[in-house]
């Protein structure tokens, strides 16, 4: 009974909290869609609309020809099915809220001590009233599709549902490329090596199928790979965003750009395996979930086109680390940094672009602060996990340990 009550009220809250601002300020969608914090060339609603227009226009043979559209063709087709795309966005957003609820239910069983600290409805509530998620939703950033599939991946992995999980993971990878790497932390959820092989195979087959369908839908043309994935890997559209990439590549001599782009990509990928290996070889079962969330956070930190929508989603996942919160050294500082940088970053962008009284360094500096905050949260989480492991699951806060 309480389940239905919880779910309905959460869904209602999700809808209300998003519908009201959209109704009161109809221009908000465009406004946020133009902000660099919530929208990048590969996730923006503008680009999606352009894609839909090109898809439906008779003269235009291929949506990727103009170099404006960077959304996968299946997503375009999906959105195209809906007369009013807001409906689709609401469905997906409610799915995320519901999935958070069920994820919490499972994790409350798996994660020790979480039950006392976290009522089952809190993560979903935090997601649906989190201003960042709300704004990201209103901007109609396509990041929520990736987030929804990622969440399903985790949920199904916890249910040991190999086929569902692999479908969801391949969908997430199909939507935004980098989740492909999450195949590594997900693998650890399946104990038997037979299952592991099965999982990898099915995921690969799924990806292939998705590619072939896209190829067919795209008029037997492979150029969607360039339009959606190469641009991501190569960081071809060098616009300011919250990430670490853009400033670096604006300043760099052309000769070094390809080298450093590969270095940055390697940097992103290189931490996935160590994080997974370190935290899944322990006796704590729930560390697998933690490793998955850490990998997700790491990818958000280092990917070429990060958006606030990623952070809003990830911060909700971080709630599951609550039992470790007393181990954290800098949580308050990190949270304060994060809040300040989120507030100051549009202001500095405005000073730079609109008023001209600031310059790009202002904005880059504040985006560094933002990334520092995310980075220090990740570091604290890792430290907390290591301490938890050291204390063998019985927290001993009086014991002071030092990193060497």
């Amino acid at each position: 009974m309480s389940l239905i009550l919880h779910l309905t009220s959460l869904i209602a809250l999700t809808v209300v909290s998003r519908l009201l601002p959209m109704y009161w300020f109809p221009s908000l969608t465009t406004a946020i869609d133009h902000s660099v914090e919530f929208s990048t060339p590969i996730t923006s609603y503008r680009s999606l609309k352009e894609g839909l227009f090109l898809l439906n226009s008779l003269q235009w043979k291929n949506v990727y020809n103009g170099g404006v559209v960077h959304h996968p063709i299946l997503l375009l087709k999906l959105v195209n099915l809906f007369q009013c795309d807001t409906t689709l966005y609401f469905i997906v957003e409610c799915l995320i809220t519901i999935q958070f609820y069920f994820l919490t239910r499972i994790l409350l069983e798996k994660v020790p001590k979480l039950k006392e600290q976290l009522p089952v409805w809190v993560p979903s509530l935090m997601y649906c009233i989190n201003p960042i998620s709300i704004l990201s939703f209103i901007s109609k950033s396509t990041i929520i599709f990736s987030n929804a599939t990622l969440l399903s991946t985790l949920l199904l992995a916890l249910h040991h549902n190999i086929i569902g999980c692999s479908i969801m993971l391949s969908l997430a990878s199909y939507l935004s490329l980098y989740p492909t790497l999450l195949i590594i932390p997900i693998l650890t959820f399946f104990k038997a090596s037979k299952n592991k092989v099965k999982f990898v195979l099915i995921t690969l087959i799924n990806l292939q199928v998705l590619m072939i369908i896209s190829f067919k839908l795209n008029g037997n043309n492979w150029n969607f790979i360039n339009g959606t994935y190469t641009i991501n890997l190569n960081f071809e559209k060098n616009y300011p965003n919250l990430g670490l990439w853009w400033y670096f590549f604006i300043e760099m001599f052309m000769e070094f750009v390809p080298f450093y782009k590969s270095v940055f990509n390697l940097f992103l990928a290189s931490f996935i395996v160590p994080i997974t290996l370190r935290f899944t070889s322990t006796s704590f079962d729930h560390f697998k979930t933690y490793a998955f969330i850490l990998c997700l956070g790491w990818m958000n930190l280092t990917k070429p086109y990060p958006v606030m929508g990623d952070t809003g989603f990830w911060i909700t996942c971080v709630l599951y680390f609550l039992p470790l919160s007393n181990y954290g050294n800098y949580f308050i500082i990190s949270i304060l940094l994060l809040i300040h940088s989120i507030i100051l970053s549009p202001i500095f962008y405005y000073l730079w672009i609109e008023l001209g009284s600031g310059n790009s360094n202002f904005f880059y500096a504040i985006s560094l602060v933002y990334n520092l905050a995310l980075g220090s949260i990740i570091t604290d989480l890792v430290w907390g996990m290591l301490r938890f492991e050291y204390d063998d699951g019985v927290p001993n806060y009086d014991l002071k340990l030092t990193q060497i």
Binding site: H340, E354, G356, T402, Q403
Partner: protein, 555 residues
């Protein structure tokens, strides 16, 4: 990292954390005091710097200015004509002006049937940039701008004879210094057909008398929302004015104080800078405010007093400024956008004064933290119904004040507002007899904590955009942190104290009092009326106050 670790260990060994927690409110006061002191010492020698022209290209007064005797009769002729136009309706005045500008050779157009402008396209330039000479028919005091209009048209005539312009010259005649000029600027960037490229700089002329002579020049440069023109523009204006032998007055400094160069005069100028900048938009605009927000460096030149300097000398300031700006390649690249002027040739840059406002923000943050941890509040977990209740109240008060601000935009009711504000402030006094549940106290603390935290965040976000405003509201609202919540029934004296503190820190009351005391122009409730066009600056504070009022209602 090792060092941090060491400090942390030392702190833990000495048991500093509980002690520090206890002193948080005191820290808050000390930090606020330090930031005020750090502002107050700026006028001392060594704290400020002399201005300098950082853009090499400007070269003010290197070219000889020729707006002299030869232009005398032309100027006088125009002025005689303009004198007759005082009683004519705006459109007729504009029609005459349009004919004149056309005769000179400008392309003209009108905006909204109220603002006329003419463009002189640069004969050899690429025509992508422009400099604006704006002349409001009526100046900020509502006087007819006789001299200014005559100067404007004769300068246009004079400029057009020079073949040296690399930028287009736009001459604008608007009805007043405020809305009509601003609407022209907005239309120029959005809807007008006849344009002359991006405007790099604008000079507004204000010569309200019909006399041949005046005494000194006032330069006004404060833009809306704390925006300032590039310091180089102010520098060339000051340097040219002094080069031509006139005295410069900033922030309306009276004639007799112009010569003063003392610690005290710099201190007064500092306060005037902060006041004028934070009240910009609320005060009567001088004209340069109209150009804020479009990357245009603008200032107003105003001729003041009766003296021995003739009107062509005043005309030579825009002439030399235009030649100087004409030398620029593209925009003002260098120099400062954030500064406070202590004298025409002394300034402090942002790095010197910013820490003061950061300090204030930090003081509020300390108070906020203090509310969380003191009075046994830290034993109550963060995630609790108290917090939730506080968040909801906070959210509701923000929503309420937002709606309130919108309503106020539509229906103005300053006296009523004042009354409500005063009433809110006395809630603690009225409600002191009511018993207070133990749980409510925690909620009250949490609400205060959120309120101060939120206020600290608002101050931080205002820091860079509008430092003077951040400083002013930070100082005016600081008494709020002294409001105490007692566990027992409050005594009447304490309730009275709380009420007074709230009264003092109420945004409307304190802004009104502030402007009444420090600014002769704004008296009574005038400020509140003026808040309407400038409400954007204000509503964050309004939110906060309503919030606090809400919290007391919660008591």
């Amino acid at each position: 990292m090792g060092l941090v670790e060491r400090v942390k260990r030392q702190v833990a060994v000495m048991g500093l954390v509980p002690k520090l927690k206890k002193y948080l409110p005191l820290f808050s006061k000390i930090i606020a005091l330090i930031s005020l002191i750090s502002i107050a010492i700026l006028p001392i020698d060594g704290q400020y710097r002399n201005t300098y022209i950082s853009e090499n290209a400007l070269m003010p007064s290197q070219a000889y200015s020729y707006f002299r005797e030869t232009e005398w009769n032309i100027l006088r002729g125009y002025r005689t004509q303009v004198e007759n136009m005082v009683d004519l309706p705006l459109t007729e005045r504009n029609d005459i002006m349009e004919t004149w500008l056309n005769d000179i050779g400008a392309k003209t157009d009108t905006h909204n049937n109220s603002t006329i402008y003419g463009i002189f396209h640069s004969p050899r330039g690429d025509g992508t940039e422009a400099i604006v000479l704006a002349i409001p028919w009526h100046n900020s005091e509502g006087q007819f701008n006789t001299g200014g209009a005559a100067l404007g048209v004769s300068l246009a005539r004079f400029f057009w004879r020079w073949p040296i312009w690399s930028k287009n010259i736009i001459v604008v005649f608007s009805e007043d210094t405020g809305a009509s000029l601003r609407s022209w600027v907005e239309a120029y960037h959005t809807s007008l057909d006849l344009t002359g490229g991006s405007i790099e700089a604008a000079v507004i002329l204000d010569y309200a008398s019909e006399s041949d002579f005046f005494d000194y020049v006032e330069i006004h440069y404060d833009g809306l929302n704390g925006e300032l023109p590039n310091l180089d523009l102010v520098n060339i204006a000051v340097s040219i004015t002094e080069h031509e032998g006139m005295k410069v007055s900033l922030h309306g400094l009276p004639r007799e104080e112009l010569e003063e160069r003392s610690l005290w005069s710099r201190f007064k100028m500092l306060l005037r800078s902060i006041k004028d900048s934070s009240l910009a938009g609320i005060k009567k605009p001088h004209g340069n405010e109209a150009f804020s927000g479009w990357r245009i460096q603008a200032l107003t030149l105003k001729a003041c007093g009766e003296g021995g300097i003739d009107i062509t000398t005043f005309g030579r300031i825009p002439e030399a400024m235009f030649r100087s700006i004409n030398n620029l390649l593209e925009k003002f690249h260098q120099s400062f956008f954030y500064y406070l002027l202590l004298a025409p040739r002394n300034f402090v840059s942002i790095s010197s004064y910013l820490p003061a406002a950061v300090g204030l923000s930090l003081a509020f943050a300390c108070s906020s933290l203090g509310e969380f941890v003191n009075d046994n509040q830290d034993s109550i977990p963060f995630i609790s119904s108290y917090t939730l209740e506080a968040i909801i109240v906070w959210f509701l008060s923000i929503t309420f004040s937002f709606c309130f601000a919108i309503t106020y935009l539509k229906y103005t009711f300053p006296v009523m507002l004042m009354f409500i504000c005063i009433l809110f402030s006395f809630i603690p006094l009225i409600s002191r007899g009511l018993p207070l549940a133990e749980t409510k106290i925690t909620v009250a603390h949490r609400m205060k904590a959120f309120a101060f935290g939120y206020f600290s965040l608002v101050l931080t976000s205002l820091l860079m955009i509008n430092f003077p405003l951040a400083l002013t509201i930070g100082v005016l609202a600081f008494p709020m942190t002294l409001v105490k919540i007692s566990n027992t029934l409050p005594t009447s004296s304490q309730a009275l104290k709380n009420s007074m503190l709230l009264l003092v820190s109420n945004p409307y009351i304190s802004i009104c009092a502030f402007s009444n005391i420090f600014d002769s122009e704004l008296t009574g409730l005038a400020t509140l009326d003026r808040l309407i066009p400038a409400w954007n600056d204000m509503n964050c504070w309004t939110w906060f106050f309503s919030h606090l009022a809400g919290y007391h209602a919660g008591l």
